[in-house]
Symmetry: C2
Subunit: 217 residues, 2 copies
């Protein structure tokens, strides 16, 4: 029984890593679709999101079966409940990448993002991809230095997110209102993606140390 249980935990852990890797790819391609106004790539990102949702369902069913069949307690129980929450965060990161791809498609053949703000978003997207990759490494190694890196990357993301609103408020901002809406929502999606990465990082930290950080967002 114990051996089966360890195999279940291992499998759940591997599925979380797989989700984090797929989410990193989704953001990479979603940003590329926006930056290059590539509607075919956007379609691929939108289609691939269903696979991330499928992975989440598979993982959640496995976690619930493990709860039912093995009746885990203490740290094993927290690990499985934590996995359900982490899979929800990762699934949401996939949704946010999909939202960017949907924006590419909505505005095609026009670019959704004005050139003057594109560099800020490129930096934000790069940080998002780095966060998702770091989440995969953290899940794999449980090295808490990586959790700290993720939190620091997210601070930089928040700084860039604020700078978007400074740029929009500047006198030389000449985009029309619908484009300003697209810019606001894009910045929000890119920023929320990082928050969910931090949420996973804090849960892994809790599972490793047993201490909950009350600054959890």
């Amino acid at each position: 029984m114990r051996k089966v249980f360890q195999a279940d935990l291992q499998q759940i852990g591997e599925e979380l890593i797989e989700m984090a890797n797929q989410v990193a790819t989704a953001m990479d391609r979603a940003w590329e679709s926006l930056a290059n106004v590539d509607v075919d790539l956007a379609q691929e990102v939108i289609a691939a999101d269903a696979k991330i949702d499928f992975l989440q369902n598979q993982l959640d069913e496995r976690a619930i079966d493990t709860l039912a069949l093995q009746g885990p307690v203490a740290s094993d129980l927290r690990m499985i409940v934590g996995s359900l929450r982490m899979s929800a965060s990762l699934e949401r990161m996939g949704d946010l990448a999909r939202h960017l791809a949907q924006l590419t498609r909505l505005r095609f053949p026009n670019p959704a993002i004005p050139a003057k703000i594109s560099d800020t978003f490129a930096q934000m997207a790069k940080i998002d991809i780095d966060i998702a990759k770091a989440v995969a490494r953290l899940l794999d190694t449980r090295d808490l230095k990586i959790a700290t890196e993720i939190i620091e990357l997210n601070h930089e993301l928040d700084r860039l997110h604020s700078s978007v609103f400074t740029q929009v408020a500047a006198e030389d901002w000449d985009a029309n209102a619908p484009t300003t809406v697209d810019v606001s929502l894009t910045s929000r999606y890119l920023e929320r993606f990082g928050d969910h990465g931090v949420s996973v990082a804090r849960k892994v930290t809790y599972l490793v140390t047993g201490e909950w950080d009350p600054t959890e967002i």
Copy 2:
């Protein structure tokens, strides 16, 4: 043992209803703070959100303890895991109400929302409050007619959300860019609030019927 377990389930159910009611109040007051540019009320909403977060933690700890001590299986297990997810959705609804109150505070003493779009947002906020109250009733009665009502309310919310972007794209939209940003994010928060309500409604439906609706958002 069985009696203790039923008491635990009952308590978890009551805490979910309490969260839904608090979230309805939060949205009611958050909207009032925005509409009336009432920064004191906004502060109260922001402070009250900590209580919703506390309720979630309390509920989640109770659910995890119940999993550990009672080792539930089948529908009881699904109910407890479902509660963890529903509490996460409700907590997020509280966050979204808080975001509106934070916007009131950020722009004070100026109104964040231009008068010409205020009526649309008032309708959206009213639907959000109705959704949260309906979620409380659904959790209490498990009457699935209420779940259908929630989904219909959310369709109306989506329609109003789309109409915001039509209004922003119209020729007579004369708000400056930062206000357009505030309008986009307000609309997004009001719309997401409803999505989370639907998510709870679908989970209750699943727990009652055992059938998962693949259109889950």
